[in-house]
């Protein structure tokens, strides 16, 4: 009996002793970066951490937020959704306010849903999810919710920009070939390529969806492109699927121009070499199109110029920084809803233009740079003499697409 009493006493006093300690201190803003940081996906997760830390370190050097340093914790999701879900729970246990992630649409979908459910169940302890790189349409479509923001482009933004600029430059041609990876991103790209046909006055001569990162030889696909007499090949392929496709095209002497979304992934130009000359890429940032101040500063910290997914992350977290300036919790509890409302009203002038947030689905308005691979540029990449020469920078109002009807956002009262 005595043991039971003692146990009951401990059971009652432990939580009570812990409670007052938690409430007394000023609340530090806690940010969790949940990325693929081990295994094969590390090269896609690491840049997001670098980009986010680059901005947050500067914030902390300037005093942090809410009277304390911002606490950033990196969580390794192991490249899969179950790992991401487990790490999100761990982040909650650590008292997180903001989750940053971007290197996979599947993981983005998981985290976004986890955040939505957590916020439904825990009023007053909401968490914000900042998507800095996942481009699946559904993330601002049927999966959109008030606490999720996307700071990267989507397929219609990239394809729309490519078509517009290449049309103006007279390099698009009338016959467009669509080759993409068979999953949500590739399907979004294909839909965007078809959707822009009228505006670009071209005919989609053939569409192909192929297995993701499994094809070793793209020669049969290139033969089909050749037979279709395509002027331009538009593709959302990334990593090996883009590299091998371009190499096969180079080997067969294909004349068609490539219009891509991810040609600026580090290593691509180094591997493809002269085959890449004259091909296009639509991205949100190109150091050539800027005064180079940010690029040089970033290189000082990380050893390389910002490229690929990093600029999205940098600018997305910079928008968060603006939102933090707009709110003041006077050292007290952090109200995530207020922060989200402030974020909706941020307008950030970046090196390439103005970016802001669309309130209806929390998709960012982003400027898009369309660049062409050329020699003799200021910032050659991968140790070659090639780099990306900006053809045109489109302001964000020219790249945005309509809000998806599937997005039904419930706003806080």
């Amino acid at each position: 009996m005595k043991f039971a009493h003692a146990a009951a006493a401990i059971a009652l006093t432990v939580p009570m002793a812990a409670a007052p300690l938690a409430g007394a201190k000023a609340e530090a803003l806690r940010i969790a970066i949940i990325e693929s940081l081990s295994g094969g996906q590390t090269s896609t997760g690491r840049p997001n951490v670098l980009g986010a830390s680059y901005v947050i370190d500067k914030l902390n050097a300037a005093g942090g937020f809410n009277g304390d340093k911002i606490v950033v914790t990196e969580y390794d999701n192991g490249g899969n959704t179950a790992g991401a879900s487990a790490k999100f729970k761990q982040a909650l246990a650590d008292g997180v306010h903001i989750v940053i992630q971007g290197s996979s649409s599947a993981i983005a979908g998981q985290l976004s849903e986890d955040v939505r459910k957590h916020n439904l169940r825990n009023k007053g302890k909401e968490v914000l999810y900042l998507n800095v790189g996942a481009e699946a349409m559904e993330l601002t479509g049927e999966k959109c919710h008030f606490h999720a923001f996307r700071f990267t482009t989507t397929a219609p933004m990239r394809v729309g920009a490519l078509v517009r600029v290449m049309k103006e430059a007279g390099t698009l041609g009338g016959r467009v070939y669509s080759i993409n990876q068979n999953y949500s991103w590739g399907q979004d790209m294909e839909a965007a390529i078809k959707g822009n046909a009228a505006a670009g006055r071209y005919e989609v001569v053939e569409t192909v969806l192929h297995e993701v990162n499994r094809i070793q030889d793209f020669a049969p696909f290139v033969a089909k492109i050749q037979a279709a007499k395509a002027d331009t090949v538009i593709t959302g392929n990334w990593s090996n699927d883009l590299l091998l496709l371009m190499k096969a095209a180079g080997a067969s002497g294909l004349k068609a121009r490539f219009a891509t979304a991810f040609l600026d992934q580090p290593g691509n130009i180094g591997n493809a070499g002269d085959v890449a000359l004259g091909h296009y890429v639509a991205h949100t940032y190109n150091a050539e199109a800027t005064d180079g101040v940010m690029a040089e500063d970033y290189k000082k910290v990380t050893g390389h110029y910002p490229a690929y997914v990093e600029p999205n992350t940098i600018n997305g977290v910079k928008m968060l920084a603006e939102a933090l300036k707009a709110v003041d919790f006077k050292g007290g509890a952090i109200d995530v809803d207020k922060l989200a409302l402030a974020l909706e009203n941020v307008t950030l002038t970046t090196d390439t233009g103005v970016q802001s947030i669309r309130k209806e689905d929390h998709q960012a308005y982003l400027p898009v740079v369309v660049s062409r691979v050329e020699a003799g540029v200021k910032y050659p990449v991968d140790g070659t003499n090639l780099g990306f020469r900006p053809v045109k920078v489109l302001p964000s109002d020219q790249t945005i697409y309509p809000v998806q009807a599937s997005c039904k956002m419930t706003r806080p009262n």
Partner: protein
Amino acid sequence: MSGKKLFLGLLAAVLLVAVPPFLGLGWQNALTNVLIAALFATAFNLLMGQGGMLSFGHAAYYGIGAFAVLHLMRAVEGGLPFPTALLPLAGGLAGLVAGLGAGYFATLRTGVYFALVTLALAELPHALAPHWEGVFGGESGLSSMRMPSMGLDFGSSLQVYYVALGWTVVCVALLYAYTRTPFGRLTLALRDNEQRVRFMGFDAHAAKTLVFGVSAMMTGIAGGLLALSSETANYNIFSSHVSAQVVLHVFVGGSGLFFGPVIGATVLTLFSFLASEMTRAWLLYQGIIFTLIMLYAPTGIAGVVQAHIAARHRLPWGRLAGPYAVAAIGGLLAAAGTVFVVQMAEHVFSQTYRAAAAQGRWGDVALFGLTWAPHNPATWLAPLAVFALGIVILRRVRAPIARLWHGGEDEADTAASQPAHGAA
């Protein structure tokens, strides 16, 4: 003897029920994952350890169970009256059906060929799921939400933990009871001498299919618990690393003992929970642990413990304590040296450090509460010396320990070095 076992079991049960409410959210989630991993490993070991069939594709039944539960959860969200706590039943049913079907084909072959067939069968849903929107939700997968039922809201991690605890305890108990049945004995016979089983008039193929089905059913329940806990699943759950993970758990824990997989799953899940927060190199450490266990304790953690328990009356504990303590020190030294070198390398080879170094800023590295100069050879040679010292100590102390174990009796070493087969 059995009274002592009962007491230990009750003590474990009381601890598992009473302690988690006082733990943080992080530990509650980690323990839920431990329970799920433990059930998965135990179900897998029914096939591998007891049935002698090494499957490289158990992720398939884990994933099928998860998706089955998610479909039921979505139906419940849509208004179907079904108690939330019983949702994993759907996973068990789906796992059983899939397991019987796949098992029928896989068990036509044995050994390597069996493993290859299971691998191929597991690749099927992995390739299919991203494209089959209706069943697997495409690339992003399915998601749902636990609905309140029977007066509980199932919103907190603690409630999910108790659901997982209930299911895991019941299923592991059932699997243990299974080993005591005549069919459980037959399962062992299938592993040891299948031809003899056939001579005795049993249909070995049908029996193996059934063992496969039961293992897949329990695996499906584990997958269902995962779905219940994370409320989503996508095609990633079918990937080969999920299949590999359970093999790892079972081998580290020890496949020859019934509770070996539980130990392996617990140790490795907690290790990943703790280590993945501390270092990016945790997979390397996990690999090192696995390799060392395979090299020096092939019977796994449970096998080592079992050998000590079996020989407990015979061993000269008083004389062993000294050499064991020395061995522990040697092991710690070797481990400390390794960890230091790996962590230093991780720091020095990180992108930000290399960027600073390229500009001539070879800053000191803060590690374990002290700062170290990476360009100073002593920073690297000292831990290597510690590592070498540890290895020398371990090598030296091996012979005296072996002598004490043998203790003059010739047959005694068999207990320590041979796999202790048999359930429990």
